[in-house]
């Protein structure tokens, strides 16, 4: 046989082997579930949590991959409801807010225990919050706690000004015309805040701290000499007042959180913060064990040292491989924790995790693990979970340079894009406003501009891109001055290609795109070093529309558009001072409308969970926060009770309201 013949026969062999494999896979497409459905022999849940955690310390990292594990190891005052993601009682049995929303009381349960058997008291939460605000800890989520009185001042290393003659601190209100001293809006702060509660619960000790909290707000100045002097130079009145006075650094004990008794936690707020309770399940606020942290420093999370507060405790951590947690017998509700063990596989590659899932080595995957291109194979399976998520995709406009400075151009680009077609193609929901629809019941969400290419062309003609007859002329449009930039996440490029085609079709303009390495991209985006358009997304830190609207509360930082309007901020402030829930929603919606009118963004789509869950896993729901309270999860061995399709999410969970 000649070499050539041997070669071709061999190649034919290889090809047919490949086809055989593909054929076998294709023939399996009609099955109800994706891959094996044998429950694990042990009472264990095998989950994939994403890439290696930065740390198991819930106050250090900011990723969801760590939050998923914190949900098992630590517990806060409140927990996320497994279905609705709204706060439900956890280490606090109940809470109450005083009439003007300046103070929150948490009543702790008496049987809360750390994994080493120590009781969990209100003092542990005082420690947890103070520690999270300590500058040297470097907690990146510290700003979540800024609504707490003087928390921001402490975290920024700021100073109070003390007058040794009068033995008094200088007050904010005496310099109220200068509102640059403190970024939190204070103008409306009443002199003395009442601490009345609706049910008359005010028999608690009136401590020195409590009195300070209810005294007029102290003046806060930057701690760094240079920054402070710059500020004082701009304000001669302030400079004169501060001269010769003592600068007192803001300490942890000045932060508005205290334990009037072992089982009551009192938090004083800077201004009304109606979403404050929704933040309590966040990992940043979950109970930490002071003695362990102080003894071991940053090594406290090692498996042989860590002390935790959640339903599970750490068994082992094989770095870059898996974290195993086991049921903690010390946990107050351990009788109702179903699983003996959870294995968190530390990997983030979608194809790898779907392979593991199919081979029956994984029981549940996290959100967005099924790539859109796989939906054809997986989308109709009964173990594919596709529910709306509190996460949005949108494009930023650079409103400071190029054609996108013109609001008409921004509106035209938004209106000439068929978001419904985009969403249908990607199996998600279209987004026309800045908040995801259907997640916040009762919120009167504004609609945003509809898909209307003709109107878009008119707007562009008005903006000056027109021919002799006054009609829109694509040749005049400076499409080359606009470029879409994005990071290399799997979905970004197909999105951009679709959008590019839409603009080509509806406006006749070709807008180019560029995929950039992640950190390079975020730097360009933040510094507004992009031409026209940059891709971004946002997922809720807590279940309130404000988490989305607050992106544009500050002119810089997460707001990478260059658009900022004091009127917008004033509306948001006014909304948050409004205690009536629906009135507040109305004001938030007004602010959202104002934002949409200015069109600094193109809203694209609302995320959907797109995850896999084996039918025998119960008590796990694809909720909007995509964080799972693990204590409710269990393995159902009776196939007649399995989930065939999405579990019912409409009814309030039986466990809620504990």
């Amino acid at each position: 046989m000649s070499a050539a013949a041997a070669r071709s026969i061999f190649l034919v062999g290889v090809l047919s082997a490949c086809l055989l494999v593909v054929g076998c896979t294709a023939s399996a497409n009609n099955e109800t579930f994706f891959g094996k459905t044998d429950p694990p022999r042990e009472n264990v849940l095998r989950y994939v949590s994403g890439s290696e955690p930065e740390s198991l310390d819930p106050q250090i990292p900011i990723g969801q991959n760590e939050a998923r594990i914190s949900m098992a190891l630590f517990e806060g005052l409140a927990e996320y409801d497994p279905k609705s993601s709204q706060p439900i009682p956890a280490l606090a049995e109940s809470w109450e807010v005083n009439k003007d929303w300046s103070e929150v009381l948490f009543h702790l349960r008496r049987d809360g225990r750390f994994s080493n058997g120590d009781r969990i008291t209100a003092r542990d939460f005082v420690y947890t919050i103070q520690r999270g605000m300590t500058p040297s800890v470097g907690a990146r989520y510290a700003s979540l706690a800024y609504p707490i009185k003087y928390a921001q001042a402490f975290n920024e290393g700021a100073v109070f000004v003390f007058d040794p003659n009068t033995k008094n601190y200088l007050l904010e209100r005496d310099f109220a015309d200068d509102n640059s001293t403190n970024p939190v809006a204070l103008s409306s702060q009443p002199d003395v805040i009442s601490s009345e509660y609706a049910n008359g619960n005010a028999s608690l000790a009136n401590t020195a701290l409590h009195q300070t909290m209810h005294a007029p707000l102290r003046l806060v100045l930057p701690g760094k000499d240079k920054k402070r002097n710059d500020l004082l130079d701009k304000n001669p009145k302030l400079k004169a007042a501060v001269a010769g006075k003592q600068l007192v650094p803001v300490k942890a004990d000045d932060v508005g959180v205290e334990a009037p008794d072992d089982y009551t936690l009192r938090i004083s707020l800077m201004q009304p913060t109606p979403y404050f309770i929704s933040m309590m399940p966040h990992q940043f606020f979950r109970a930490l064990h002071q003695k362990t942290i102080e003894k071991f420093g940053s090594a406290w999370t090692d498996a042989d040292k860590i002390v935790t507060s959640g339903p599970f405790k750490l068994d082992s951590w094989r770095h870059y491989d898996r974290i195993v947690v086991v049921r903690d017998p010390q946990y107050w509700d351990t009788a109702h924790v179903h699983l003996d063990k959870i294995v968190f596989y530390l990997l983030a590659d979608n194809v790898t995790m779907l392979s593991l899932y199919k081979a029956g080595e994984l029981d549940v995957t996290y959100n967005h693990t099924v790539p859109a291109t796989w939906l054809e194979v997986i989308g109709h399976r009964k173990d594919f979970m596709d529910a709306p998520e509190a996460a949005i995709d949108f494009y930023n406009f650079n409103t400071t340079a190029g054609p996108t400075r013109d609001v008409r151009v921004r509106k035209a680009l938004n209106m000439s894009l068929d978001k419904k077609a985009l969403a249908d193609w990607r199996h998600v929901a279209p987004l026309t406003a800045m908040t995801p629809n259907g997640i916040f019941p009762g919120y009167p969400q504004p609609k945003g501009d509809p898909f209307d290419p003709e109107q878009a062309k008119k707007l562009l003609a008005e903006a000056g891109y027109k021919d002799a007859n006054g009609n829109f002329d694509p040749k005049k449009f400076e499409a080359s001055e606009i470029e879409m930039i994005m990071n290399p996440d799997a979905n970004n490029l197909p999105y951009a290609e679709f959008i590019q085609a839409q603009w080509k079709q509806n406006l006749g303009a070709t807008i180019s795109m560029r995929v950039m390495e992640n950190k390079t991209f975020t730097t360009a985006q933040t510094n507004l070093e992009y031409k026209g358009i940059s891709r971004t997304g946002w997922s809720a830190d807590y279940m309130d529309p404000f988490t989305f609207l607050s992106i544009f509360y500050t002119p810089k930082g997460t707001n990478a558009t260059g658009w900022w309007d004091p009127k917008y901020v004033a509306l948001l402030d006014q909304a948050n001072r409004t205690t009536d829930h629906l009135e507040r929603y109305k004001l938030l919606a007004q602010a959202e409308q104002l934002l949409l009118d200015a069109q600094p963004v193109i809203p694209l789509t609302v995320g959907t969970t797109r995850l896999m869950k084996k039918p025998y896993v119960k008590g796990v729901y694809p909720n909007a926060a995509t964080l799972i309270p693990w204590k409710y999860a269990y393995i159902e061995r009776d196939p007649s009770k399995w989930d065939y399709g999405m579990p019912d999410m409409s009814e309030p969970s039986a466990v809620a309201g504990g």
Partner: protein, 306 residues
């Protein structure tokens, strides 16, 4: 010989200095840093972080610290992984990469040399052609294609081996990654062995050996292989260094906790101490293995002297 070795060892120091300095400069020039991300952090919090990690100091102070650390073989603490030292991470990840790399290396040597030798001995036979087709496939199918194909066949259709994860050196989980990793090396080694052997088999001393009446087995193993394997050795030294110090793609596909996986993530995370630690470690390994190759030349081929 000894002078040669000493000279080569001394040369490692300036080379390491250059490698580390260049890497440091590149990391510093790249936009972004370890805490930058889509969700922006408050400016005050950023200031706290910069202070915590000494990033507020002038660059020469930071660079000096890097050099001091490397000089003491203590690469500092990871920026990304709170409280974990780079040395700890290297010690933890290296055994995984080394176990995988070494298995793949052995596999590549055994299969590659056997295939290459057989091909050379039966030149132009069907054995030769099919070996060389396999070799060509091994070179031309990238491992990010081969890996998933093997998973599709052996994990998801036949359910013989797990599709990912690491269960230790002596477990089923090493089989697919090792095959994937070794494919291209099998191919290279087979081709190198074949051409090396073809050349040697035509040489006079092989004819002499045959003339002395040695059996074919003895001719091949005692005489031909020694000479025919020289190109394989010069290829496989650095190859071993690369194999055991981590392989980004294969470790990523099979989610293995090895150095390559750490390395790629360290780059994406701008985790400077970890990047520098791994780069320095790989640089030292490559330099040392090259030295070992040079020494082994002298051992195998008596004509080479230093």
């Amino acid at each position: 010989m000894l002078r040669f070795i000493v000279r080569r060892i001394v040369i490692i120091i300036p080379m390491l200095f250059v490698v580390v300095s260049l890497t440091w400069a590149l990391v510093r020039l790249a936009p972004g840093n370890f805490y930058s991300g889509e969700k922006k952090i408050a400016p005050a919090v950023e200031a706290n972080l910069r202070e915590k990690y000494g990033l507020d100091k002038p660059w020469y102070v930071q660079y000096g610290k890097v050099l001091r650390n490397i000089g003491r073989f203590d690469f500092g603490t990871s920026l990304r992984y709170e409280g974990q030292s780079v040395n700890q991470i290297l010690l933890r990840a290296l055994p995984v990469s080394a176990a995988l790399g070494f298995t793949a290396y052995l596999l590549a040597l055994i299969v590659g040399i056997t295939m290459g030798t057989l091909a050379a001995l039966k030149q132009n036979s069907w054995l030769d052609s099919s070996s060389m087709v396999i070799a060509m496939l091994g070179i031309s199918i990238p491992n990010f294609v081969l890996g998933p194909l093997l998973v599709l066949l052996f994990s998801l259709t036949l359910f013989w081996f797990p599709p990912a994860l690491w269960n230790g050196f002596l477990s089923k989980s090493i089989v697919l990654p090792a095959i994937t990793l070794s494919a291209i090396y099998v191919a290279y080694i087979a081709r190198l062995t074949r051409s090396g052997m073809l050349e040697v088999l035509r040489s006079d001393y092989i004819r002499t050996a045959r003339a002395k009446g040695l059996s074919e087995w003895q001719v091949v193993t005692r005489h031909a292989l020694r000479g025919g394997l020289l190109p394989v050795i010069s290829f496989s030294g650095p190859a071993l260094a690369f194999l055991i110090t981590g392989t980004v793609v294969v470790e990523k596909i099979f989610a293995l906790p090895g150095l390559g996986n750490y390395f790629i993530n360290a780059c994406f995370n701008r985790d400077e101490p970890l990047i520098l630690g791994i780069v320095a470690f790989i640089a030292i390994s490559v330099l040392v293995f090259n030295l070992l190759v040079d020494i082994s030349y002298a051992v195998i081929d008596p004509r080479i002297k230093y």
